[in-house]
Symmetry: C2
Subunit: 474 residues, 2 copies
């Protein structure tokens, strides 16, 4: 292979970009064929009389964009573009510099660190199919019809038992209401509370899927800042809010866990203030290090907490089953006003889930998935530590299916997200989760790891690192 | 058997009630053992020297309450109480007269004419299980995750094709939004229209499941009276409503079908007035006599109609899948504002349904069910005609899964419902479907026939007739 670009130190573009563009074009036009081994960084630096860092940055960019790949102890090789499903070569792509035009075509996403993806390789398909088929036959034909509006009593019984044991939730099947996803629970809850336009307090940042639902139903939001151990209670007190929505067991999106002392303080506030706490325990099943902390609801002696949970993380989002545990005062309103609301979750899935729980398969599944996710969680943290070293800081770990990464870079977090996307890695900022998004919100990247294999986690982080390499500041 | 009651013509209770009470007590105490054949009406009338009508009414009441049964060409026999699961004999039951106390224990319901019950005996369980199992395996593992928020594209494609062909709905898959039941579609729609508190016009009476949803979301309702061919358009014009919800193809609950001319008039109103029509075609698949009438949506050239449909009648309520077809102007709002709303219907069921439709099984199912329901519909009408004769008038027939029966009686319709219930037959008044229920609303009884077998339909109507016999006025 012959690489002899005409590099110009006086040109507008830095040397590493000129080099990167030159090699990229050679690959795109086929002048450097696939599988070709590129010269080593040392060799090329020597040959071109430029610094090794320049070569390294150019190579990292090509690596990040998927033009070349690195083979351990062997060097860099040109990737076979055909097999990469490169439908359109990024013709209008001009430069990886922070001044970017919007025409450039992103690479297909190969590594998606989406928070809501779950592991689908360890799901007990056979067992679920068996339970599902048991729910669908002539002997069970009444299951085709409308069921209990509140949720199937059998599922509520199995679920309340589980919640008492595993999440220290203080509940009976009478208090449980089933529904199609957490947003559906929130909608029902809003109808229960009454659409009076009174503001609802939320952590800032907080879960946008719930915030937009409140807003679409006409509620205004009082954003309450976060402290290191969760919502700022002093601010909450000042807000005079009568309803607060929080995620104490793994704050969404920042991932902190609210300690017991603060939980007690929060409950005290609710009791003093006559307020209602909506506790969303969306991924409470998964805690990897340290002891699980009991739910707020379980600590509450005065019926001021609504507990919301979901099977979307712990089992699968596809069946759309979430649930809430209502305190006495709301249960009365529910029975009085909301029993005209049809059940939204599938009766067949509810029955399947009940059989799945009663057979013991559910607990086996949770135990298995806790191990699977712990492994992914640990590999993710280890890889970040090894690869990105001091360039990032991690928070929000030890629980759930995502962590938070603060990137020490000179550019805006949205730019980091774009750069990642262009190299085929999808990561997420917290932008959507702010009620009033500050111009300079922290450079935080959310990394969900549930849906990626161990190998994908490692490769995704390596590619991410390569893409961001030119922009680190520490 | 010896029947020699001490009947007293001067007593407060009419003779037939004295006789009824006497025989009932004899049966309850076991003095007349089960399986005993009662004397024929003629024999007993002769023996007691009272009219055959008195005996007949007493026997009908015992029949209606399940103490005795009638065997064709053989006579009346005492029913085996043990096998009837008579947990508590109705000890406090005093009289079948219109002055009733509230302590009396109703009989267990043996015939439930609920409108929302479907036939579950002709469901293709094997085919559905096959499609369902195809959606649940390692090769399809992405189906466990979140799907398209608007609904799976494959299902939307199959469904839009069906709607174009079968319901003359003018739609593409892009316009279809899937969701967990019709109330969920209404909720989404309200969020689309905007919760501005402007009134929504509805047929009076109209579907309470939708009306309460509007009300819980803060809308007020403008009830518009019904004419013989559907909503009164003059009244609608006067209401100045910007949104109207209607069920033109089988008005809920009264069952009239809106003719083409009125549909065109309604569309003209919407266009002139800048109004939106929400067309709920909840059971449009089933029309038994006369030609199907195209949907309002299909007649509309200006994008003023939202079409809502459901699989709850045509397939089963258990999977909770409904859908709506949005006109352009609302589709834009949907894409702009509502794509933060998670899909509420199960992704697995959506995929199963798609396979079910693509395999041709769906059309076979609809054809089969149309025949099954037509048979039930015809038997119901014929039985009513034979048994109740001129004592009732039927409307709302020829479509859907329920008919409307006007009972010519001297007592309030709610009383008729109670009397039926006490004899083990559940029928429904339209009380819930009125926005401002008039004190003297018409004596209309809703009879759903989808969930009953042919035999149950016949027996249910016979028992109903027996229970109401003393109260007919014509």
């Amino acid at each position: 292979m012959d690489i002899s670009p005409n590099l110009d130190e006086a040109a507008k573009e830095p040397l590493y970009i000129q080099l990167y563009q030159y090699i990229k074009e050679e690959i795109q036009t086929g002048r450097i064929p696939s599988s070709t081994r590129l010269p080593s960084i040392r060799q090329l630096a020597h040959f071109l009389h430029i610094s090794k860092t320049t070569i390294q940055v150019a190579y990292q960019q090509l690596l990040a964009e998927g033009y070349i790949e690195s083979k351990e102890r062997s060097g860099f090789y040109v990737v076979d573009m055909a097999s990469e499903s490169f439908e359109h070569p990024p013709a209008s792509y001009s430069s990886p510099s922070p001044n970017r035009d919007s025409n450039r075509k992103p690479k297909p996403i190969r590594y998606d660190f989406y928070m809501s993806k779950i592991d689908v390789d360890h799901f007990p398909y056979d067992k679920w199919r068996m339970c599902s088929n048991q729910s669908m036959n002539l002997e069970q034909k009444q299951l085709l019809s409308y069921g209990d509006r509140q949720g199937e009593i059998g599922l509520r019984r199995a679920l309340s038992q589980y919640l008492r044991q595993a999440r220290a939730v203080n509940c009976s099947e009478e208090q449980l209401v089933i529904g199609a996803g957490t947003q559906t629970m929130i909608r029902l809850l809003c109808q229960l509370i009454g659409l009076d336009g009174n503001p609802i307090a939320m952590e800032e940042p907080g879960y946008h899927g719930v915030r937009t639902m409140f807003q679409q139903l006409g509620f205004s939001i009082k954003p309450i800042p976060l402290e290191e151990d969760g919502i700022a209670i002093d601010e909450l007190v000042r807000s005079k809010a009568k309803v607060v929505y929080i995620t104490p067991s793994h704050q969404y999106p920042l991932g902190m866990v609210m300690p017991i002392a603060k939980r007690m303080k929060l409950l005290h506030w609710a009791e003093e203030n006559g307020s209602l706490i909506i506790e969303d325990d969306y991924d409470g099943e998964f805690r990897y290090h340290g002891r699980p902390i009991p739910s707020l609801q379980g600590l509450d002696a005065h019926g001021n907490v609504v507990y919301i949970g979901t099977f979307s993380k712990s089992l699968m989002p596809a069946i759309r089953i979430s649930y809430m545990v209502l305190p006495e005062r709301l249960l009365n309103v529910y029975h009085k006003n909301l029993l005209t609301n049809d059940q939204t979750a599938s009766r067949l899935h509810q029955n399947t889930l009940q059989l799945f729980m009663e057979s013991g398969e559910w607990e086996r599944h949770i135990r298995r998935m806790r191990k699977v996710y712990q492994k992914k969680h640990d590999v993710l943290l280890q890889t970040i530590k090894n690869v990105m070293q001091g360039n990032v800081t991690i928070t929000g770990q030890d629980a759930g299916l995502h962590i938070v990464m603060k990137v020490h870079s000179g550019i805006h977090v949205e730019e980091l997200v774009k750069i990642a996307e262009e190299s085929g890695v999808k990561v997420y900022s917290t932008a959507n989760d702010w009620c009033s998004c500050p111009k300079e919100y922290p450079p935080l990247i959310l990394l969900g790891f549930g849906g990626l294999s161990l190998q994908e986690i490692v490769q995704g982080i390596e590619r991410l690192h390569a893409a961001w390499l030119p922009f680190y500041t520490s």
